[in-house]
């Protein structure tokens, strides 16, 4: 019997593929966000509102992750926005390898922003790095303010949290103060963007922040290009 040290992350290969995705995106100055939420939280609606607000300024594409169907990709394409559908066939999250394939299908030279809509799930996508610049979690008001305590992992890895469907706040017993206090305890650095995509509330603030990230990424690319000249 011989003991062999392995000393490798379980997701070593995924992380290396993700790093390659990231390097590819960096070289093109494309900002990629990984959007995570439970099914029905308003991911696609938020994406459509974000596209509407940004499309005159930036060139956007969407990578749609679903267990099956291309319903979401079609909705995006109807807006004249490039969309790649990934069908995971039962896998409950996206992995870096799937994103590599999707990136191959997109014209990165012409893009500023890629929004990845992960499979609807608040647990499984948490530990999988795809090469994104940031993970964003959407929590919708009807899901309840207690979700950060029930699914802390995903709220911990998120750089920002979109609280969606805030127009339904009067109908649901959503305690925003409790929600904010819980987020502060499990992820004090997270930004919170309350929005109603259908009523156009809060979208501007969210999009302003996103635009700053896109600009920063572009500047980084310009700087790198300048340095290598």
């Amino acid at each position: 019997m011989t003991e062999i040290p392995i000393a490798k992350p379980i997701l070593d290969l995924n992380d290396r593929l993700a790093a390659a995705n990231r390097a590819l995106l960096d070289s093109h100055g494309v900002f990629m966000l990984d959007l995570i939420a439970s099914p029905g939280a308003g991911k696609t609606t938020t994406i459509l509102a974000t596209i509407a607000a940004l499309r005159d300024t930036y060139s956007v594409a969407v990578i749609e992750g679903d267990i099956a169907s291309d319903v979401d990709a079609r909705k995006i394409k109807e807006q004249g926005i490039p969309a790649v559908q990934i069908n995971t066939g039962g896998i409950c999250h996206l992995e870096a390898r799937m994103i590599s394939q999707a990136l191959d299908a997109l014209d990165l030279d012409s893009l500023d922003l890629i929004i990845v809509e992960n499979v609807g799930n608040l647990v499984c996508p948490t530990d999988f790095y795809l090469g994104e610049d940031c993970k964003i979690v959407i929590l919708s008001v009807p899901e309840g303010h207690d979700k950060p305590l029930k699914y802390p992992g995903v709220f911990q890895v998120a750089q920002a949290i979109i609280l969606s469907k805030i127009d339904t706040m009067p109908v649901f017993d959503f305690d925003e103060r409790q929600f904010r206090s819980d987020i502060e305890h499990i992820n004090p650095h997270a930004l919170i963007f309350p929005i109603s995509a259908t009523k156009d509330h809060g979208v501007k603030t969210w999009v302003r922040w996103l635009s700053e990230q896109i600009e920063q990424k572009r500047r980084m690319k310009a700087k790198t290009a300048h340095e290598t000249e």
Binding site: M1, P5, A7, P9, Q85, G89, I91, E95, R97
Partner: protein, 161 residues
């Protein structure tokens, strides 16, 4: 059930390392998993039982060491352990803390039985574990699915679990 993907990655790595070392069988796999990672140990055990047959790891003992979360306070520098929900510094109550342990997803080591080798080149003859691809350069696939590349729809899996 992302534990299936994690376990597939574990088994791929173990298989490659074990073959390189000339193993005929893997007898133990030791993992370290932080409490902040979204991993259910029972689901890992289940995935191991489902995915390990006909690999070198079949019948191996799977042990998982869990790591209690640990953070450092960005204000006063205190280091402290905590649960999954409460990260505030116990000394100064600051919420500005930085996680330094608890998110591990790590393969520590394996134990193998080696073939009684005549040479020592490291590569054994085929030790009867055909079936699993030696996936050094292949990405780990969630459930061993064949990946079909299509321009618009990428169909990744074989079917739901």
């Amino acid at each position: 059930m992302h534990e299936f993907s994690l376990m597939q990655s574990v088994l791929d790595t173990v298989e490659t390392s074990a073959r390189k070392a000339g193993a005929v069988r893997v007898t133990a796999i030791r993992l370290t998993i932080g409490e902040m990672a979204e991993v259910v140990f029972d689901a890992m055990e289940f995935a191991f039982e489902a995915l390990s047959p006909e690999t070198l790891s079949e019948g191996a003992e799977l042990s998982m060491r869990s790591v209690i979360p640990r953070s450092r306070c960005c204000v006063c520098g205190e280091e402290f352990t905590h649960d999954r929900y409460h990260w505030a510094c116990p000394s100064c109550d600051s919420l500005a803390t930085e996680l330094i342990a608890g998110r591990e997803l790590f393969i520590d080591s394996i134990e193998i039985e080696e073939s009684v080798s005549i040479g020592d080149s490291g590569l054994t003859s085929d030790s009867g574990s055909a079936g699993e691809p030696d996936s050094t350069n292949e990405p780990p696939v969630g459930q061993g699915a064949d990946t079909q590349e299509e321009p618009d729809v990428i169909d990744d899996g074989r079917g739901a679990l």
